[in-house]
Structure formats: structure tokens, C-alpha cells
Symmetry: C2
Subunit: 166 residues, 2 copies
DNA sequence: CATGAAGCGTTATCTTATTACATCCGGGTT
DNA sequence: AACCCGGATGTAATAAGATAACGCTTCATG
């Protein structure tokens, strides 16, 4: 597994995103097959929509695109597909944005910290373990046992800091 | 300043909460006076409502109580008061819960991590600095500069782990 | 007291999310 | 083939969270 900092840099830097998305989709299909879960058309298309950028999309943004392509146009259509994908670790939900983003390396550390660039809106996943350890230690001293944690940062990515994304 | 772990333990343990809330309110009033900001009746009552427990309340929960006490019954009434209090560091917003909680030690570390007990629903503030440092370091390696971070953990507090809150 | 900014209240609207229920489809059973 | 079942999909209706726009009141200040 590559360094987490590489993932971060790679997400924000210009790159062959087609390739990036294709790999993630193949990986997702393989993982679902293993688990005996069905990657139906709506689910597949939902994942593709999220993979088309490194941004996070709101459920209604996803829904609009699905509807435009002939799928149902009621909220549960999008929410169900997203819920399924989140449940299988292929998509993450960002609390700060009320939005969803595709996971680019499912399976590694399924509880990453998220880095959200306020300029280009891209979202990167950072290794969550060390942060979670720090959190658990502090909480543990006060007798609190952490079960799940949400760690989301807003800031500026290297590309934007260097003069804007485009 | 006491250890962060003391704050955590104190929040979840049974204690004289009247006293706890009174201190926070006095502290808040003093800070606002210093800043020349006005603690109007709605704002004061909103803070009191949040201080009445260590829980986080939704904006509409707050609104219901305000309305019942003769204040306005439209959403902006609650949202405005909450926004003011958040802006002055007297109340925190919890993304995970779409809710607000009173700050019990304003001024210390105004960017704490939150510990939310899933059993008793109380919310404690933990020292955020070490966690933020860990996050900044990891992000920095990938060229990302963190500006603000949301750190919220769900788990079980010592009191509940020992056999329930009541 | 005049004046302007801040505060409070209302209506209306928007965004996000869930509940409830009907229908469809694929696979296994009789 | 006819039957049954569970999962997936679709719809309508509604709940929950948040903001925009506007007018009246309050209050510090000169
Ligand atoms: Zn991921
Ligand atoms: Zn950027
Ligand atoms: Zn605080
Ligand atoms: Zn508890």
C-alpha cells in the first residue's frame, strides 16, 4: 500500500482521471462479486457519477443525473443506491457537506479522515488510523470508548495554493 | 486549566449540573460584556436551554421551547440566536447530529473534539489540539493545509459502560 | 428627540431525508 | 408452466433542517 501522502497529492494533482475512475469501478465490481452483492444498473451508475470527479455530490445532485438518464426521479432512488454503496465501503458520506464521495481505495483503511479543498472542492482521503489513535487515547483517559469517528478537514490543497486549480 | 480528561469524566459523571450551568452562563455573560455584544432575552434563554443538560439539541427542539415561553415560533428565531452564540464561541454545532451544544469552557481551546455517548446522549469536549496536530501533519505531507476540522466521535461513556446512566 | 444599526418577528421557500406502499424481476419449487 | 419469494425499483407523501426576504421595534449615540 502506498503512503497516504501519495494518495492525497495524487487526488489534488492533475492526472488521468478516466483511468483513476475505471480502476475504482473494476475494484468495486470485484469486491461486490466476492460478497455476493448485486451491482445493479442504478447502483453502478450512481457509483460512476460519483467517480466522475473527485468532488462530493449531494444526494439530489446524484438524483438529478439519474433521473435525466431514465432512472426514477424520487429521492429514495438516490438515497437507496448511496446507502448500499456506503454500506459496502465504496462510497463515503461527508457530514460537513451533506454529500457523498466515491472511495478510491476501498478496503485499505475504511475510516479515513477527509481533506476538503475549499477552492477546487476536491476531496481526498487521508490515513485515519494515527488520528483515531490520538483521539482514542485522549477519550480513553476520560473513560470514553470511541466507536466511530468523523474527521473532516477543510483547507487548501497544494495545487490551489500554488495558484489555482485551472 | 484542568486536564482534558477531567472535563470528559466530569461531563458524563453525575454532578451538580445546576452549578455547572450557572457558571457557564456567568462566564458567557462576562465574555459578551467584554466584547460589547448583547446577551438579549432570546439569546440568553437559548443558551440556558442548551445548558440545561449536557446534550445537544436540534434547532427545532430549541425553537419549540422558545415558542412555548413566548418568543417567536418561526425557525429564524432559533437559528439566529444559535448563530450568534456559535459566532461568539459559546455554543458548538455538531455536524453529525445536526444539533447544537453549549460550550462549558469557552476560550480554552475553541476547536475541541466532541465525544458523543450513544447511550446517554451527553456530549463532552476533548482537547482538540493533539488530534489536530496529527491531522495537520498527515495532511501537510500531502501538501494540504488544514484550516478548520470537524472531529466528532460516537461511543460509550464510562458511566454508561458501567451499567447505564440511570 | 432624530437617526441609523441591530434585533426580532413573520411568511414563504428551499434543501435534505425518510416513511409507506405498489410493482417488477429473477430464481427456486411444485 | 404455475407458484412463491425476496430483493430491487418505482411512486407519492411527508418529515426535518435551513435560509431568504421583508417590516416593525428597540436602543445606543449624537
Ligand atoms: Zn475510502
Ligand atoms: Zn484545491
Ligand atoms: Zn467549547
Ligand atoms: Zn453515556
Amino acid at each position: 500500500m502506498p503512503e497516504s501522502s501519495d494518495h492525497i497529492a495524487a487526488t489534488f494533482a492533475p492526472h488521468d482521471h478516466q483511468e483513476c475512475a475505471r480502476r475504482a469501478l473494476d475494484e468495486a465490481a470485484a469486491r461486490l462479486a466476492e460478497q455476493g452483492a448485486r451491482l445493479t444498473p442504478v447502483r453502478r451508475r450512481t457509483l460512476e457519477i460519483l467517480l466522475e470527479s473527485h468532488r462530493a455530490l449531494g444526494a439530489y445532485e446524484v438524483l438529478d443525473r439519474l433521473a435525466a438518464e431514465g432512472f426514477g426521479r424520487q429521492p429514495p432512488v438516490a438515497y437507496r443506491a448511496l446507502e448500499f454503496l456506503v454500506g459496502h465501503g465504496l462510497v463515503h458520506r461527508l457530514q460537513r457537506l451533506n454529500a457523498f464521495t466515491a472511495c478510491l481505495h476501498p478496503g485499505d483503511d475504511h475510516h479515513p479522515a477527509f481533506l476538503i479543498c475549499r477552492s477546487c472542492d476536491k476531496v481526498a482521503e487521508a490515513a485515519g488510523v494515527p488520528i483515531r489513535d490520538a483521539l482514542s487515547e485522549i477519550a480513553g483517559k476520560g473513560g470514553f470508548r470511541v466507536e466511530r469517528a468523523t474527521i473532516e478537514a477543510v483547507g487548501l490543497c497544494a495545487t490551489c495554493a500554488a495558484g489555482g486549480p485551472a
